[in-house]
Assembly symmetry: C2
């Protein structure tokens, strides 16, 4: 069987079936794509496959579709290609084996852009969220997109307004490639206002969809599409999500596929962060507040560890030493006896601690006794 024949067969099947079509997928695995296409065309298939293909089996537009995407600088990727994202899609196969609805490998992928999909998804993180994003959410999505691209990580998202767009723009701003997964044909721009953005993504990264050319976007296609966003990335960051945001569906797919789910905290006064806080409170998502934390959460063991923001310097003296230090005069020196009474630390211990505080640069001897060192300005938040 030739590569062209395979591609034509899969192009035909990709148009005929509305994904996810598990019976057809199993049939293709069983008899191979070329025989599967021929038998679907002839109506000579088991009833379950017939149910998923009878409505459109007359649409024999494979050659026309391949020509159309070729004119757009695109191509049809098939599982038989080197470039097929085998490793990322492995999670779909595992999920399917576990009977999960979100686990079904696409029959083929229509792509625009010259990058290699397998290479781009070697290190990739999905950044998703509401269309109705706040300024805060768009700012964070842009920063995350920029930072991930700067760290050599491919951003994966949809192409919607709000978080998706901000994440892509951030990644493009850092000169990084980015992947937009569409819920319609690769020949269409949805939303229309993102035509220029989608073209730039195709120039610098990849625009990907399992829908054939001219297929229009529909709500169920966004939901079906979301599993591919989750599968192509090592983890998904939900930047902002409202009560009913589709981002929560991508989040559910991410968890179902065993990938790392992350959510960005936001003001509790903002409805745009409600979905993120739900994911955090339920324990489904890890909170992430920076690109470094995203890399740490998705990274390989021993690499990408975040330097803790915790206090790592020596900080204030501890225990009795702190008590003695606190009892020291600021400008007037006190006797060890006075310091003992003020601090409640017994005199002999005060006498032992004062020279230690002096060595540490915290105390000094004045004419009238011991006082705090002039250079010592440490004063923490209580």
């Amino acid at each position: 069987m030739s590569g062209d024949e395979l591609r034509l067969a899969r192009a035909y099947l990709s148009r005929v079936a509305e994904p996810p079509a598990p019976a057809l997928a199993a049939f293709v695995t069983e008899v191979g794509p070329i025989e599967a296409a021929a038998r679907v065309r002839a109506g000579d298939v088991p009833p379950a496959v017939d149910g998923q293909t009878s409505a459109r089996r007359a649409e024999q537009w494979a050659e026309r579709d391949l020509e159309l995407v070729d004119q757009l600088g695109g191509r049809l990727l098939i599982p038989e290609d080197e470039e097929w994202p085998r490793w990322p899609f492995n999670a779909l196969a595992i999920a399917a084996a576990n009977g999960l609805r979100c686990g079904l490998e696409p029959l083929a992928l229509w792509v625009r852009g010259s990058c290699d999909l397998a290479a781009l998804t070697r290190r990739a993180v999905a950044v998703v969220g509401s269309r109705a994003a706040s300024d805060y959410g768009q700012h964070v999505a842009g920063e995350f997109g920029f930072g991930l691209a700067g760290a050599g990580v491919t951003v994966v998202s949809g192409a919607a307004y709000g978080i998706d767009g901000a994440a892509h723009r951030g990644a493009l701003g850092a000169g990084g490639p980015t992947i937009a997964v569409l819920a319609c044909g690769v020949d269409m721009a949805y939303p229309a206002g993102h035509q220029v953005l989608i073209d730039r993504i195709a120039d610098r990264g990849l625009v990907v969809t399992e829908y054939p050319p001219t297929r229009s976007p529909a709500r169920h296609r966004f939901l079906t599409r979301n599993r591919l966003i989750a599968a192509l990335a090592e983890g998904t960051v939900v930047v902002e999500a409202g009560r009913r945001s589709g981002a929560k569906n991508t989040a559910a797919s991410t968890s179902a596929l065993g990938r790392v789910l992350m959510a960005v905290p936001g003001p509790v006064t903002s409805v745009s962060s409600l979905g993120c806080h739900e994911l955090l409170r339920s324990g489904e998502a890890l909170p992430v507040t920076s690109v470094a934390e995203v890399l740490e959460s998705t990274g390989r063991l021993g690499v990408d560890l975040v330097e803790s923001t915790r206090n790592t310097d020596t900080g204030p003296p501890q225990g009795d030493a702190m008590r003695v230090f606190e009892a020291l005069g600021l400008s007037f020196g006190f006797s060890p006896e006075t310091i003992s009474v003020e601090s409640g630390v017994e005199l002999k211990r005060v006498r032992a601690l004062l020279p230690q505080l002096e060595l540490a640069g915290l105390a000094e001897r004045a004419e009238t006794g011991w006082k705090r060192s002039q250079e010592m300005s440490w004063r923490g938040d209580t």
Copy 2:
């Protein structure tokens, strides 16, 4: 032994030792407060107790101290009193038995205010955070204080500027009692700018401290004080905390005492929320975004359950029904055959689903075929 004698003994011990003084506490438990006080006064104590009492054992101001707080409308609470918060302080005893530094019951508590401490702490939540709080943090602290008081829960906090003050003001605004735990004598107001607030708390709730009158605030006293805030409440909410906020110390005590630790998410762009996000990311704290969630996290089983903010209405149609619904015309009716091709759902299933959608009020018959119901305006966020 009379109650007066007991109170005088504990007043004396409370001034002589700088808390936490574990050796003295053990000695008091062993020989009783009256004998302990007499022997400390005489210097006739084991070396470990001597180390914790020798510096101030000459300060025999118990009568003067009790008179002073009496003039302020205050009193000395001792473990032998009915009003002693036995149940909350049980956590301290357990922690002490486990060798934890934060687990030491105070020898006595100096209080201002006429409320009953045991009654006020029957249902109490600590609300803490940075002095250098943002407008957002102060807003949330105020809302939480107001909401908790409205739900009959006592707010416990320090008396600092920022989150502490906002939480108390919120609680007072709802007419609820509130408890301020000080790191200095009950005769002092620290910070001085909170004199009026502290007086109002004493009027309507309680001002509490383990430090005798005239003892001035010091950093180590805030840290020692924090364990009492944690112990008096069923859980602690950290509203905002910076890198070095003392609120993180209260958070650590809360966890060590086995109480519920909660943190409020905030903008990841705000340094004021950094400490909260660290607590969330490490898993030490539960995220809380509302008073209802605080009540749920600290409440008794089967009570105070939050009504989920998740979508509980029936929402959009699912699966094939959704695909058929999406393929319906908005104003022009389509034939079942057209709908089958557009949706990819086999014809006989389309024919079965259309009447179901009609019954659900989602589809209607037009002259030219099937279209979406006029009343149907549902359109989720993708």
